[in-house]
Each structure stands twice: as structure tokens, then as C-alpha cells.
């Protein structure tokens, strides 16, 4: 039984279609990520769910209740904005208490709830600070606390981490996921960062030009992209045109052939290789990039350049440009995409 049900959502600004034909359903407590490039309509879709932007067509149901035309105040939806949107004239405590005060709760209850949520997001000691006195990560956690404290039915997060530096982003993303799971909160998270989507989500919706082009678990989306766009967007997939595929692998395809860089293995001459994979493909190393624990080689075979990732085990194993090697490609890991 799905908790949130969206069907046929569409939105235009003038003649420009921002999104259309959006269908999805969310289970209660699920963490779903809307992943897509800049300008594909993620924020607009999120704002429509919250009731901040009108939609032209479609229907949104939460827990069986039609909220398509409900005012934002009546939807029970919380949102964290990319800009934080903290009230500059209020302290951390006042920001968080804002929603509770509007509910006219007794003061002691407000104080208790605010204290609880401040502990939850690890902001103890900052209660009296004003937003401009906080770091980016702290502001983001205040925004999260402010949205959480009113106990929304759904939490929407619009690129909450994109303004932060890499280290804080990683730790905050674990914190958000942890809090979400502890509270069992149905959450829609928007990002254009595929790594963020892969590490956090129960399910990912990939958006392109106002449409959801693929949905599925992180593993699914990563290993089995449905379209060329998803394959390109999810990482450094090798995409072979049908002619290249037949030249390189003698495979007849109608669409592009997508091969992940880590699904290709490199064997130096004389190195034994398992025969059950495919026929070895002679190739030449062109150059390499060090990505930390992984080395990404640019390898040329039959005039086609492929990217191949290898674990960076020992510095001595590094293959110099010009080295002749054999490639083995796991047929199971190839995907035909359109």
C-alpha cells in the first residue's frame, strides 16, 4: 500500500513545459531521491508537492487523502530549502519553535520539543545563536530541525548539501539518513549529485527534461541504466554506438552499448586469465588518472577509446602509456540502452 501517490503531474510556465507525465508512489518511511541535471525541473516538482507551486494537471494523494489543491499549511509537509531559508531575525531556538508557536502549543511542550530536536541534530549550545553566526553545516541542521519539529508526514529536501564542502557533506548525509531512519520519515531528497543519490536512497528517480526516465534501487540504476541519458549521468560509462559495438565485440545492437569501467579487466601479456569470460581484446594503454583508490585507464582497442577502472593495489602495478594489454569484458555487465 503506497503512502504517497502522484499521478499525471504536469507543469508549464508559459510555453515551457517544466515537467509532465510524472507518476510515482512512495511507501511509508521510504527515502527516495530525485536525481537529475540542473534545470530538469526537480525543484519545481518538489515545490509542487509542497503546494508552493500550482500544478496544471495531475493528482497528489497522501495517506489516501487528495491534497492536490490543499494550501501548503494544510499538507503536513516539511521542507528544507537549498538556501536554508532560516529566519534571520530569530535565534536558532526561535527558528525551530516558529511552527510550534503557530500551533499554539503550551510553552512547556514547545520547550521540550525544541530541546529534543536540537539534541537530535546535535546543535546543543547553539540555541541562542543567530543564523549569521552559524556555519553552513550548522545552518542546514537548524533548517532540518525546524522542518522536523512539527512532525510532518513527508519531508522534502531540496539539494540541502550542495552549498557545503565535501567533508561536511559526507557527514551530514549520514546524519540525515540516520535521523530519517530513526523517525521512519517518508522523505524525498533532491540532488544532482549521483554519488549522494547512490549512498543515501532506498530508491532513486532519475529525471531528465521534466520526466522521470528511470526509477529503481541504487544498484539497479547504477548497474542497469535504462537509457543512454541515465548511463551517461550515472558515471563514466563507456557508451559504444552500434557500429563500434560490432567492430569491437562482434555484437549486433540497435541502441548504444553501455559498459561500466569496472566491468572491464586488464591483463598484461603472459598473465593467465579465466577462459569463461570473453575472448581477450588486444589493446594499448594511452594514459591514466589517479582517482585515489581507483586508477582509471584510457585504453585504445580497434581505434576506440575505453575507460577502465582498476583497484589501486600496488604502485608497482601501474601500467605505463604504450603498454600492450588484453582486455576482458564481462558480457553479463553490458547493457543495451536507447
Amino acid at each position: 500500500m503506497s503512502y504517497v501517490e502522484a499521478s499525471g503531474l504536469a507543469k508549464k510556465y508559459g510555453n515551457a513545459t517544466i515537467f509532465q507525465d510524472i507518476h510515482f508512489s512512495l511507501r511509508k518511511g521510504e527515502f527516495v531521491t530525485l536525481l537529475g541535471p540542473s534545470g530538469c525541473g526537480k525543484s519545481t516538482l518538489l515545490r509542487s508537492l509542497a503546494g508552493l507551486t500550482d500544478i496544471d494537471a495531475g493528482c497528489i494523494r497522501v495517506d489516501g487523502e487528495d491534497i492536490t489543491r490543499a494550501a501548503p499549511q494544510k499538507r503536513g509537509i516539511g521542507m528544507v530549502f537549498q538556501s536554508y531559508a532560516l529566519f534571520p531575525n530569530m535565534s536558532v531556538e526561535q527558528n525551530i519553535a516558529f511552527g510550534l508557536k503557530l500551533q499554539k502549543l503550551p510553552g512547556s511542550e514547545i520547550a521540550r520539543k525544541v530541546a529534543d530536536v536540537i539534541r537530535l541534530v546535535a546543535l546543543s549550545g547553539k540555541e541562542q545563536h543567530y543564523p549569521h553566526e552559524l556555519s553552513g553545516g550548522q545552518r542546514q541542521r537548524v533548517a532540518l530541525a525546524r522542518a522536523l519539529v512539527v512532525e510532518p508526514r513527508i519531508l522534502l529536501l531540496d539539494e540541502p548539501l550542495s552549498a557545503l564542502d565535501a567533508r561536511i557533506r559526507k557527514s551530514l548525509r549520514e546524519q540525515i539518513r540516520d535521523i530519517q531512519q530513526r523517525l521512519g520519515l517518508t522523505t524525498v531528497f533532491v540532488t544532482h549529485d549521483q554519488e549522494e543519490a547512490l549512498t543515501m536512497s532506498d530508491r532513486i528517480f532519475v529525471m531528465d527534461q521534466g520526466r522521470i526516465v528511470q526509477e529503481g534501487s541504487a544498484e539497479m540504476i547504477y548497474t542497469r541504466p535504462a537509457t543512454e541519458f541515465v548511463a551517461r549521468f550515472m558515471g563514466s560509462y563507456n557508451l559504444l554506438t552500434p557500429t563500434e559495438a560490432s567492430r569491437l565485440l562482434q555484437l549486433e545492437t540497435r541502441g548504444h552499448l553501455a559498459i561500466r569501467p569496472e566491468a572491464i579487466q586488464i591483463f598484461t601479456p603472459g598473465q593467465a586469465y579465466p577462459a569463461h569470460l570473453s575472448a581477450p581484446l588486444p589493446a594499448t594503454i594511452r594514459q591514466h588518472q589517479l582517482l585515489g583508490n581507483v586508477i582509471r585507464y584510457q585504453v585504445q582497442a580497434h581505434g576506440i577509446t575505453l575507460q577502465v577502472d582498476q583497484l589501486n593495489r600496488r604502485a608497482e602495478d601501474l601500467l605505463a602509456a604504450g603498454t600492450e594489454v588484453n582486455l576482458m569484458i564481462d558480457q553479463q555487465q553490458m547493457r543495451e540502452v536507447h
Binding site: L52, P72, G78, F87, P88, N89, F98, G99, R146, V150
Partner: protein
């Protein structure tokens, strides 16, 4: 070294130029007589006492305050919501507003006055010679100060996101405006109010042409007193000067 000396002397001369007239006026207003000597004879506050006991002066001062404060109250009630609506609902209108608010400054006051006199001297709205025409006219003078200052305050916060966040937390639009937006406008509003106030209090042209002796404001009173003793008018000028100085100080405090 020489350059520094030069800079210092330029500044010194400038300060001297600006302060000497004020100091001289102050001294003049404090002296009973100032005849053939370099310094005045007997210092006293008698001119001030006479001034502050003159009912015509107090009435004129009161009228000026009433017109200025009334104008600013009206302006606050109209302009604050208007700027908010422009920024929140119709951001495209900001350009138009910026052009509109320049008009009162682009047209010389005398031209404006003649036009206003033509329109409001008879016909359905016969308000020349009353404070109302001054309130209306002063409103257009206060508008640029207040609009620009409020617009700057609004531009420094993310109005749409703040309103959206407040809405999602359960606030209606008026509540969100009062609790979330308005407090951030306080400084800009206060600063522009003081600025507009001292500007309006100093107006002579409009007050004289539109209301004149029918509604004698401070500046018109000062003008009408020009034939009396110089010591007396000096006392008027100094009183006025100290009052605006005080306002300027308040402005500086509030715009920090």
C-alpha cells in the same frame, strides 16, 4: 610629509568653512547685542527664551511636526506593503518603481507646485492652503527614500524562500509577513524615516507655495520672521539646526 601637510590643511579649511557660519550663528543667537566688538558683549539665553515662549513659533513647529509625522505614518502604511508586494509577487515591477520614484526629484519643486495648485485650487478636491495638500505632496517626496531603503533591505533577504518556509510551518501570508519579513525591514525603515523626516522638515518651497500663511509651517514662519532681529532668527536657525542634528544622530544609530 608635504603631501600629508597638504591633506591636513585642506581638511582643516573645509571644517572651518563648514563650522564657522554655524558657530557664528550660535554666538549671535546667544548674545544680547553684538555691535562694534569682535566678540559679543553679554551672553544670554534670552533670545531662546523669547523664541520658545512665542506661541506663533510653537504653533508653526507643531504644524510642521504634524504634517511630517502624518505624512510618514501614511507613507509607512502604504509603502511598506507595496514594496513587499512588488518583491514577493511582481519582482518585474521593481524596475518600473525605480523609474517612478525618481519623478518627484526630476521635476523642479516650483513646477510641481504650480501644477498642484492648478489641479487642487478648485474643482472637486479643493485642498490648497490646507495641510492635506502638503501631506499628499510630501508623500511623493518621502517615497524615493523609503522605497529605495526598503527595497535594499528586502533584496538582502530571500523573500520567496522565507515566505515559503513560513507557509510550510503553518503561517498565513499576513502572519508570515509580520513575523518573518517585517522585523528584517525595521532598520531600513527607521533609517529612511529619519532621513525623510529631516528632509521634509526643511522644505520651504512646497510649504510656502501650497499652503503659505494659511497653514504656516516652521520654514514659512522662519521666512516671515526675516525682518525681525537677527539674534532672534539666529535662535530659530540654531534650534532647528540642533533638532536636525539630533535626528541625524538617530539616523546614524538606527542604520548601523
Amino acid at each position: 610629509m608635504r603631501a600629508e601637510l597638504y591633506h591636513r590643511s585642506v581638511v582643516a579649511v573645509l571644517i572651518l568653512l563648514l563650522t564657522v557660519p554655524v558657530l557664528a550663528t550660535l554666538l549671535y543667537s546667544l548674545s544680547e547685542h553684538w555691535g562694534a566688538t569682535i566678540l559679543p558683549d553679554d551672553l544670554s539665553l534670552s533670545w531662546y527664551l523669547q523664541l520658545w515662549q512665542d506661541s506663533a513659533f510653537l504653533a508653526a513647529f507643531g504644524r510642521s511636526l504634524a504634517v511630517c509625522l502624518g505624512t510618514l505614518l501614511l507613507a509607512t502604511l502604504i509603502i511598506v506593503p507595496a514594496v513587499f508586494v512588488v518583491f514577493y509577487r511582481f519582482p518585474g515591477l521593481d524596475k518600473l518603481m525605480n523609474a517612478l520614484i525618481l519623478i518627484p526629484f526630476a521635476v523642479p519643486p516650483v513646477v510641481t507646485s504650480v501644477g498642484l495648485l492648478n489641479i487642487y485650487a478648485d474643482g472637486p478636491l479643493n485642498i490648497t492652503g490646507t495641510p492635506w495638500i502638503l501631506v499628499g505632496c510630501y508623500f511623493t517626496i518621502a517615497l524615493p527614500f523609503m522605497y529605495r531603503s526598503l527595497a535594499n533591505s528586502l533584496a538582502s533577504i530571500n523573500v520567496r524562500d522565507l515566505m515559503d518556509a513560513a507557509h510550510l510551518l503553518g503561517a498565513s501570508t499576513p502572519v508570515a509577513f509580520l513575523r518573518v519579513i517585517l522585523p528584517n525591514l525595521r532598520k531600513g525603515l527607521m533609517a529612511s524615516l529619519f532621513l525623510a523626516f529631516s528632509f521634509l522638515l526643511g522644505d520651504f518651497v512646497f510649504a510656502n507655495l501650497l499652503a503659505g500663511s494659511h497653514y504656516e509651517t516652521l520654514q514659512v514662519y522662519l521666512y516671515n520672521m526675516r525682518q525681525t532681529s537677527g539674534h532672534f532668527t539666529s535662535a530659530i536657525v540654531m534650534s532647528y539646526f540642533l533638532f536636525t542634528l539630533f535626528l541625524t544622530w538617530l539616523t546614524a544609530r538606527f542604520s548601523k
